[in-house]
Amino acid sequence: MSISQFRQSSIPQEAELLRSEVQSFLKSELTDYPLSDRAHSWMGFDAEFSRKLGAKGWLGMSLPIQYGGAEASPFARYVVIEELLAAGAPVSAHWIADRQSGPLIQRFGTTEQKEKFLPSICKGESFFCIGMSEPDSGSDLASIKTNAKRTDNGWVLNGQKVWTTNAHLSHYMIALVRTGDREETGRHGGMSQFIIDLSLPGVTVRAIPDLTGGEHFNEVFFDNVALEKDALIGEEGAGWQQVTAELAFERSGPERFLSSIALVYAALDVIGTNPDALQARDVGRITARLLTLRDMSLSVTQQLSDGENPAWAASCVKDLGNAFEQEIPEMLQLLIEQQPQIDGGSEYSRVLAYLTQMAPSFSLRGGTREILRGIIARGLGLR
């Protein structure tokens, strides 16, 4: 693991060709979609919009053609998702399925599982959430207690997940649960991944409103949920390794540094074409950091494309990217004399109010700052 992992890379021409098509689609689909809604970025939920993307062939793009995918390069998907994020399109419904559930099923699933799940992911018809955190297991994920025990027909699931984004709107959860004894299997053993149909008896989903009043995350209870044999995805006991393999996909994408881009647009409109010196300086800094983060993210995409495991490099992108998207509302509130307002006021004021409040979550979701830096330190050989 070293800094030289970050080789320069750029989007190949054939992937770049997609960009204008995606842009014209978004232009016509999102004509009346206001900036204050675009500010929700990948937390904006619109099932109908997701289905339209599926119809365009822009979901599950890397998956095999026989399952509805396009066998496209990671860069083709990159162009599509960065255009969606830059436009603030409501991508939340399919986001997890497209980013990691689909690739996970493709990588570890049986033929039956692929046939069952992948086509509807590609059509934007089945939505997934990720079951990781529990009340007593956040950063220390290996301490999870939710467990699945073998029965004659399959498995029986008991326990609780928490902070599960979109559990109330998703069809399935891919959960990491305990299937073996921690004492016997070691710290990272004895865990497995399951695809849980959230409509099953014994599953209860309860919303936890966030500090803006929004309902995105949930607690999910499992009370003797009977799972079929094929709910297990991948190998029994290999859950930790499977989850770790997903992390590079989860942590290096443009959603890790574009969450505040709507506020940059709003600020540029307020500042106008003749900025004062402070405004010019801060806008310049924001631009330079964004360009650099995108280059780093593209470099990780190249590594993924080459079949490497860039978990270390992905952690760098996420940590730097989260700091960037968190600093944008902080920088801009010092630059423009317009108060943040949750309603009324200008569009800039509303976008600022929303992102000021949302920003703390950017470095919590998908691995905290401290955990990421711990991973980076391990890569440096310090731990």
Partner: protein, 352 residues
Amino acid sequence: MRELFESTIERLLGDLSTTECIRSAESGGWAGGVWEALEENGFTLASVSEDNGGVGAGWGDLFVVARAAGRHMAPVPLVEMLLANWLLELAGLKAKAGVLTVAPEGMLERTGNLISGDLRQVPWGRHSHAVVALLREGERSSVVLLRTADASAVTKSNNVAGEPRDKLTFTSVSPLEVGELPDGVGNSSLQLGGAMLRSAQMAGAMSKAMELSSNYAAERKQFGRPIAKFQAIQQQLAIMAEQTAAANVASESACSASDSHLNAFRIAAAKIATSDGASEAARIAHSVHGAIGFTQEYELQLLTRRLWSWRGEFGSSTFWSKVLGEHICASGSRNFWAAITHSHLQELKLSR
């Protein structure tokens, strides 16, 4: 070509640009051995075409040379030489051997065929045979090559790292060469090239400081264990690694985007990212090293004093941020995202 460059320059500077050599240069010596080896291996002419006696390398390939010059703190004007000859060629002039440098600041005037003016912050001015400067006359810019020996005064001055940054005064001298820059090449090309190369040098120096810091943390024991085992140290070094990675990526992108012409937009972004990152990296490196890093004897100061110098040379982070920010604001919010995805097409103007 890049791989060959990198392995050759790393070996060459690793052998010759030793801390003894750097310290001796800081005391006023000329590292002639390093320079001769660079000449023998073709590095001093690498930026010009084969017709001109060089190897026709682009800045994308030369990135690794500039980065190695920073990493090994080569106490000679290598990147200045690459830039000087590149500018001569751009102006239709012959590349030159010897020791050439460039003039980052200062104003020249031409009366008839004679040149006068002060050139400031000239790297290794006192050790160079000739200096490349820009002569601005109305809308036109010309590249001028002046013999250092013709200067009426050489006022010695050093940057924070003890690298010569001299003032050369010329009073009605005949230039060695004058060549007009072609249309479309701004009179900012010298500053842009310098900013691009300093960015690459900073990326190299940050990488080296990163290695020193993590090695030191692994060796130094306190409270009965290596300080690398403490989370407070790990978290700081992780931030330093992120900044170092960002500096490497940003400076490489700027160089690669500048093969056909200097890409001002990319270079501005790289100078901002590396200058800001250099400040952070130097801060953390010293914090992790404690008092030993503050001594003259230990190697770290050779790197951090260069980072503190280079971050400001050819334009600070604030200078380039304002240039970049004015361009972005003038283009409006609707064009912001396209500027990011199509940075190679951005026309950034420096002179206002």
